[in-house]
């Protein structure tokens, strides 16, 4: 029987003990995808051939009696903005229609080298711009806990697949909450690592100073396992810092006496059921011997507009490369090159992406640069300082991941600003380059999961995952609820 609180270790034991072959396991996942993906819309590309080829290698290795690497033979998925050689990478945008990368992202290379079994690429908001996965050109991904609700975004497909038992784990990317928010909405664990911990080489850029790749899993141990395998120095990413991924061996460290910071700014405007779950989590930590410390983060007030200004500015520059000349969609008819580029971009990008490009271009344009971009950069400096000072008084910060539970489908398209407000709790972590993990901590109306966030100091992944794992143990994993459907083992 598969242990939902240690899924990767459990699956590897089954493989080692020959209770199931890797080919059988992979085929079982592929069959489950064929059956359940039409209702979840988690995958946008299935890769059965690559998956079965990797599985065969694993079975041959097992037959030779060789040891398996940490993630070897485990069926998994990648968000569709992580480049995969010879496998389409669309960012769920029409503009990347038909694009097939000629190289692998470093994270995928690291996993592929140890025979990770890639089941397919998963759905996302177009170019990772959104909170519901609904800006995807393939339509949104459903929440496995309630199919009328969204899986969240932008890594909604990964969360939908992992939560729907259509992959053991997945890698997403997080620019303003895109790993933690869907993890929270789908009752999963999602880690946004410290900026520079995981290589961004091969991750299609949205906002380069904020983007990080990280895991989405069903439990904390799996997140630690995956993070430890992808946290590597990479000369191909000039912001790579070369930290040691060493979180797994610290999961069981005692937490008694650890100081957990509570900022009132994070507790404003929460839906009552979320507030109650966070208060309960605080009590759990107190009962575990942690000390709750009041901290103040006044600069948080400006985090959201600062984030949108900087993210859109960087996006407007990064997305300048889509001109229809070298890859992807190209307009069918045009008068000259300028006309071709404009027509390609106007028809290739969706409305939300165009809005963000326009806002980014506006805040960078002559006459507005100082009032918006420069001012936002300076306020970013203040927010960074505020968090640095807070960590003089605490070891980690506890906050909600999202002020509410998953939205009903279609909710987010009505008012862009209202949608942006839902990112209020997640964006500060990206602004400051800090690690943040979302773990399940309750259920709200209609059985929708509630998540909480543990924010650590720079390269404090081991500390926050230790606190997260101990919470999961203390609550007996009652919030890591496995839904029906998908792989049944």
């Amino acid at each position: 029987m598969l242990d939902y609180l240690a899924q990767i270790r459990s699956l590897q034991s089954m493989l080692r003990e020959k209770k199931i072959s890797c080919t059988e396991l992979t085929q079982a996942y592929l069959d489950a995808m064929e059956r359940d993906n039409p209702k979840l819309n988690a995958y946008v590309t299935a890769t059965p051939e690559a998956a079965l080829a990797a599985a065969k290698q694993v079975d041959e290795k097992l037959a030779r009696g060789e040891e398996l690497a940490a993630l070897e033979g485990i069926p998994m998925t990648l968000k569709d903005n992580i480049s995969t050689k010879d496998i389409p990478t669309t960012c769920c945008s029409k503009i990347l229609e038909g694009y097939v990368p000629i190289y692998d992202a470093t994270v995928w290379k690291l996993l592929k080298d140890q025979n990770a079994v890639l089941l397919g690429k998963t759905n996302m908001d177009e170019f990772a711009m959104g909170s519901s996965c609904e800006t995807s050109c393939f339509g949104g991904a459903a929440n496995p806990h309630n199919l009328d609700h969204v899986a969240g975004g932008s890594s909604g497909g990964v969360a939908s697949a992992v939560g729907g038992n259509l992959a053991a784990y997945g890698l997403g990317s997080d620019t303003g909450g895109s790993i933690r928010q869907p993890a929270s909405f789908c009752g999963l664990v999602g880690l946004k690592p410290t900026y520079g911990a995981v290589s961004r080489f091969g991750l299609v850029a949205y906002a380069s100073s904020l983007d990080q790749i990280g895991p989405i899993t069903t439990n904390v141990e799996d997140t630690a396992l995956v993070y430890d395998q992808i946290c590597r120095y990479d000369p191909m990413d000039s912001t790579s810092k070369g930290a040691e991924g060493n979180t797994l061996s610290h999961l069981k460290d005692p937490v008694k006496g650890k100081r957990i910071g509570i900022a009132k700014e994070y507790l404003e405007g929460l839906k009552p059921e979320v507030e109650a779950a966070i208060q309960q989590a605080m009590k759990t930590y107190e009962a575990m011997g942690c000390e709750l410390v009041d901290i103040s983060l006044p600069a948080l007030k400006y985090a959201l507009p600062v984030y949108y200004i900087l993210a859109c500015a960087e996006a407007s520059s990064n997305l300048g490369r889509y001109d229809g000349i070298r890859y992807g969609y190209q307009a069918d008819s045009y008068l000259n090159t300028h006309d071709m580029i404009c027509k390609t971009r106007s028809a290739g990008f969706g409305k939300e992406v165009q809005r963000r490009i326009l806002l980014g271009t506006y805040v960078l344009s002559s006459g507005y640069y100082d009032a918006y971009y420069k001012k936002a950069q300076n306020l970013r400096g203040s927010i960074v300082r505020t968090f640095r000072e807070a960590f003089d008084h605490c070891d980690a910060i506890l906050a909600p991941t999202v002020p509410m539970t998953s939205f009903p489908k279609g909710f987010t398209s009505q008012d862009p600003i209202e949608t942006y407000q839902t990112d209020i709790c997640t964006v500060p972590v990206n602004i400051c380059g800090l690690p943040g993990v979302s773990i399940p901590c309750g259920f709200g109306e209609k059985g929708l999961p509630i998540g909480m966030q543990l924010i650590g100091n720079t390269f404090g992944e081991a500390n926050i995952l230790n606190l997260a794992w101990q919470f999961e143990q203390a609550t007996g994993g009652e919030f890591n609820k496995k839904v029906e459907g998908g792989l049944a083992l």
Binding site: I341, Y372, G381, S382, C432
Partner: protein, 92 residues
């Protein structure tokens, strides 16, 4: 208040066409978004110089020649190109 003309100009800089019938709606949306962005100018905090998040400094290395991706691979996403180049018809 953002004007239609400003949005037209920003769209041109962004290499995006906005259809005439969409311009009013887009101007309204952009006005809301810019008003939202403008809330940072209410901050009394002047902020502080910010360069990059993890204290990076320029690091120079020897300029070593390493293999590049073959031209044929790079051109794969445009049907192999023409004579080793990307090809774009003048008009279509």
């Amino acid at each position: 208040m953002v004007t239609r003309e400003e949005i037209e100009n920003i769209a041109l800089l962004s290499k995006l066409f906005v259809a005439e019938e969409e311009l009013d709606g887009l101007t309204k949306e952009m006005d809301q978004m810019i008003a939202f962005a403008d809330t940072i100018n209410q901050a009394t905090d002047a902020g502080e110089e910010f360069d990059n998040i993890n204290g990076l400094q320029n690091a120079f290395r020897e300029d070593e020649v390493v293999p590049s991706y073959p031209q044929s691979e790079i051109l794969k996403n445009r049907d192999g190109g023409v004579d080793g180049f990307f090809y774009v018809a003048k008009h279509k």
